[in-house]
Symmetry: C2
Subunit: 319 residues, 2 copies
């Protein structure tokens, strides 16, 4: 273990993760208000929307308009996701998007085939073209994310040897292309991680890619999300994706028969950090307000716990 970090950086994924799986599209003004409320809490990065096919994901068709509607706050980056060149070009055309150069890899071959129509090795080799595109656009590569880094519903458990192989191929690609990548995310895309596998795989990244910062993209699919985050924090991991109110686990949208689950809940994760004495730069009360706004907006009880119980700050002051 590397000991507790003094500060943990948390990136908000809720606006994209949450709304992309909702059965209906919510008013743009309401989504903009949620992003603004999240930024007001001091979150350093918010993924606002994805630039993907409006036919496949109609909820994200107005991504450009959404970005334009947001009153931006200094100190927060407003990022977007894209999956192909057309999406990247649409994102680049929107001046309000804070472009981030990210690479992706799959640890599960079957999952890659299902999502992309090509295997994990081919998908990874395609990232060379993204290196070139980002270079042409003057964008540094900030991170690479290994999806299904723990397991996958098609292939089962992903062995550590497999993950090691993917990390090795990634290192080769970066060396070949003459670029560096300061951060590597491990994504538990469909909820296979446990606290011990998190620790072992974080160690693996550190051994194979010395000096890289490890981030975690955890989903709370089977209830272990915050236990996994805690195990990682104790190991010095200081970078997490999270989703306000646990957004993304819509029970009614028919997504994978209602079994989808959002990222770990942002405000519950911030609460964990603060209770452990770790700074996040986030105003927890304001973040809880944003979570409650999300709940009012969606009109149903969301998964977050702290937002319903309330923080301890007021109770401590009163005592």
């Amino acid at each position: 273990m590397s000991g507790l970090p003094t500060r943990v950086e948390i990136h908000e994924e809720g606006p994209r993760e949450g709304f992309q799986i909702e059965p209906r599209t919510y008013p743009l003004a309401e989504r903009a208000a949620l992003v603004e409320a999240l930024a007001e809490s001091g979150l350093p990065q918010i993924q606002v929307a994805s630039f993907v096919s409006p036919k496949r994901v109609p909820q994200m068709a107005d991504a450009a308009e959404l970005f334009a509607a947001i009153r931006k706050r200094t100190g927060t980056r407003y990022t977007a996701l894209w999956l192909n060149e057309a999406g990247f070009d649409r994102a680049r055309a929107v001046p309000q998007v804070d472009l981030v150069g990210s690479l992706y890899a799959y640890a599960s071959d079957a999952f890659s085939r299902q999502n992309n129509g090509r295997g994990a090795a081919e998908f990874l080799q395609d990232q060379r073209r993204w290196v070139q595109r980002y270079r042409d656009a003057g964008l540094a590569i900030e991170s690479a994310c290994v999806m299904t880094a723990f397991g996958c519903n098609l292939e089962g458990e992903i062995g550590e040897d497999r993950l090691a192989a993917v990390l090795g191929e990634l290192a080769t690609l970066l060396r070949d292309e003459g670029v560096s990548c300061p951060t590597v995310y491990l994504a538990d895309t469909v909820g296979w991680a446990n606290p011990h596998s998190v620790r072992r795989r974080v160690d693996l990244v550190r051994r194979l890619l010395p000096g890289v910062r490890v981030g975690l993209h955890l989903h709370d699919t089977r209830g272990l999300g915050l236990a996994n985050a805690f195990a990682a924090i104790e190991q010095g991991v200081d970078l997490f994706d999270a989703s306000v109110a646990g957004l993304g686990g819509c029970p009614f949208c028919g997504h994978a028969q209602g079994t989808a689950a959002g990222n770990v809940c942002t405000e519950d994760l911030v609460f964990l950090c603060h209770e452990l004495g770790i700074a996040t730069g986030i105003d927890l009360e304001r973040l809880v307000d944003a979570a409650r706004l999300a709940e009012r907006l969606l009109g149903r009880r969301l998964d977050g716990k702290l937002m319903h119980a309330g923080t301890l700050a007021a109770l401590r002051r009163r005592a």
Copy 2:
């Protein structure tokens, strides 16, 4: 740290925790079926109901009939809660109740006054009469539970010195009365614990009461329930209360303005243990079936995560 236990014992609290705060009383046959389904999973102990004032808790008025209706399974204890002598006498009159001698203490004076009309010190001294009652009934004292052992909404954080004082008074009482108490539970009654405070306080019990087994009664009020359980498991704690499907956190019952939360979710905790390679003696698939039965019975989405996503066993077999 004492290292991982090879086996963790989990006691089910859902039937009592859950139904006592529901606004309506569910049919006795349905509650009996849920208890039977829980027992079928191999749970070693299930708290079925409480023998309390039917005026204050009408949902538990038919506790005796409920016990009589359950087809019991060998290997499971079917326990009950009582808060005063009248309740104990009612429980003793029901042959199906597996009586357990338990003592209680409060770390929060204000919480004790609110719940019992007398302070923590007086409440603890009253336990001497319970020692006598259990002795008269031929019941061994199995455990003592310190409630609000981490914090309380009235007094705020409970200091470790306060907890140490309560444990000291408890030790004195046991010595005076000439009884032993093999297990001490720390209860995070209203959700103030975090993984580090759990570890420090488990250590405190072990230092002050050498040889005692430490159990934890954790509520998932602010989302840290399983992170707290994991921290304790890593420290060798092998005894937990839990609640199927996270029952107890009814959002609609007006209990403390909808801010109540159940115990840590039984099947999510069992999943955590099994993923860590720790035995529980529980059939997780059957337990998930029981959680889904609870959801059908209550007619609304419950908090458990695994019950919605499904276990990994079938996915591993398929892979």
